[in-house]
Symmetry: C2
Subunit: 109 residues, 2 copies
Amino acid sequence: MKSFIAKQYACPVEYTLTLIGGKWKPVILWHLANDGIKRYGEIKKLLIGITHKMLSQQLKELEADGLIHREEYHQIPPKVEYSLTDKGKTLIPILQLMCQWGQENMEHI
Amino acid sequence: MKSFIAKQYACPVEYTLTLIGGKWKPVILWHLANDGIKRYGEIKKLLIGITHKMLSQQLKELEADGLIHREEYHQIPPKVEYSLTDKGKTLIPILQLMCQWGQENMEHI
DNA sequence: CTGCATCCCTTTAGATACTG
DNA sequence: CAGTATCTAAAGGGATGCAG
């Protein structure tokens, strides 16, 4: 999942999934898509069960892939806000489709 | 990724990704969507680099999740054919969207 | 040809502690 | 409040051999 390493993809779907796949990334993107700008701490409260380390890591990767924007305010205490970039916003239809499909199918578990 | 274990999902997207996420599943589904019925060996030839173990595992999980159908012919040598179920076919739009998004964005790497 | 089991190594993620 | 580093436990995936 190290986005900066050159890699060969057999299929574009595989590439897309390296950017938005995984346990946390889609949920992070989903919240930013719905709520716009969010602070680090706010995101952490929304993602029940995520560890501090994981959230930092995921946000860092999403930023490196140009999907989210990181705005840092140099204050004490620090304050950092995250939001979707234009590229990130183009993923919303995909997230919506997956969300819809999940809702329609997961109830039969 | 053990699909038969009860699990809580914070978001339907997460559930969807446990079914179609990962390195191989979307590609397998993609090929079955395009070509219809395929034999085990044919799929293996299409997925460059996949190991024997991985393919068996992924196919088994996809079958357990009701996304693909497994038709076994009791012959010597054995012959097994795989195809999408109706449920599996409902995923095609999602795969198409992800494929399209990947094509439009991965060229800028 | 297709599938399962085992061994083993690599990768990933959780817990904890520390910095600005 | 936000982020980093380290250590460790657990999961993932490759290679190989055996079975129907």
